[in-house]
Symmetry: C2
DNA sequence: ATGATCTTCTATGTATACATAAGGGAACCA
DNA sequence: TGGTTCCCTTATGTATACATAGAAGATCAT
């Protein structure tokens, strides 16, 4: 086998969580996982260990693994960290992007206008991802990009994008416009501040959602 | 056995790296680890998996594990991320600390003065850790604190604290004073900015060190 | 009937066995 | 002498076997 089996299992389980087939609190036992993927317990166990290291599942000794749940407190914490990281990326991008890259970023931004007009959330979500990815590239910091990716992945397990709300979608586009301008003009502090506001807005929706979920079933 | 064996091994190996008994690039094979700790290959292997998930070692399929090396690029990246996170913590602390906590922070800061006067780096390093820990507490964000802890741990593998330099030690104390003032007055933006400068200074020493190391043996 | 204690049973943690891919060395050829 | 190919060794990846800690259930006493 070319790829590591445990790696494949890990991705499958992540996918299950992301698509709601597994929910926070669900128990994952090694035997069942092994049977499901038709492997022995060893790779199943190793997949769980990797998930635990990433914080996706909680591994209680002698009690197996459960899908991590997110407290409102943790949700807010993640939003705050993501905000700081995204803002840093925007600031660095303002400093480091070439004029060619800045022009491309502006182009990416404009390309999303069509999706906004049609209120086409799935399309805009793709545009949005491309826009932010361009900023990560421009920041010239792989480690930062990786930290953002991990944090976002972990958040994605628990919420649908706020961009499914038409109001949020329109606001997002406006905010992107201002961020693009700030980066274009090389204004590091402004780019940071604008990105901070941008992420915080979307993040609040996430934190509110978690708070509601938790209140409902205590 | 009460604790997980692989967990214990992981800590031992981390310790080895931190204290220089293992260097970046060193190979870690499962058999040798197992023999050294007098366990079977299974826990040894699981420890390596956990270290790999944390980025401490690199795990190449069919080729075993090597202690991760840090490129100058990665070193700079880590400093930038740490800067953003520490700044965020300081800003949040400025907003959220009670006046009692603020007074305690000021007290912690003053307590480090003696170590500065004696140029006692080990003592100051302890004071420094307590000072920063108080800020993490005040930020009311466990997730942020954990991210900072992880990043710092990973950096600590590769450098001695810049606080062993007398000049840096004195400067650190002055910077702490300004940060303390900003937090006391609840000035979020200023606290962020001052902490940013503070971390960046120390971080540059780290990045320079890595750059030099890499240039020497290419 | 309720609680406590004991027993049983299951799933985890560890060890060991087996399969296989990658690397190294030897031999052979040019 | 240099290079290529083949084989062998070794370490990783996976499977299986065994030990044991906890959980669940049953039994008994109050």
């Amino acid at each position: 086998m070319r790829v590591r089996t445990s790696e494949a299992l890990r991705r499958e389980i992540e996918d299950d969580i992301e698509h709601g087939r597994l929910s926070p609190g669900d128990k994952l036992d090694e035997q069942t996982l092994a049977e499901r993927f038709e492997v022995s317990r060893t790779p199943a166990r190793e997949a769980l260990l990797q998930l635990a290291a990433a914080g996706i599942v909680r591994l209680v000794p002698r009690q197996g693994a459960v899908v991590s749940s997110v407290s409102p407190q943790l949700a807010i914490g993640m939003v705050e960290v993501l905000t700081a990281l995204e803002a840093e990326a925007a600031g660095l991008a303002a400093r480091r992007m070439t004029s060619i890259e800045k022009a491309q970023l502006a182009k990416l931004h404009l390309a999303s206008q069509a999706a906004v007009k049609r209120l086409d959330s799935p399309a805009y979500i793709k545009n949005n991802a491309a826009f932010h990815a361009a900023i990560y590239d421009g920041a010239r910091n792989e480690f930062l990009a990786e930290q953002i990716r991990t944090t976002r992945l972990r958040m994605r397990f628990y919420h649908r994008s706020s961009l499914y709300q038409p109001a949020r979608l329109k606001a997002s586009f406006q905010e992107h416009a201002r961020v693009t301008e700030a980066i274009k003009s090389g204004d590091e502090a402004l780019a940071q501040q604008l990105m901070r506001d941008h992420i915080l807005f979307g993040g609040r929706v996430f934190a509110d959602l978690i708070a509601n979920l938790t209140n409902r079933k205590p």
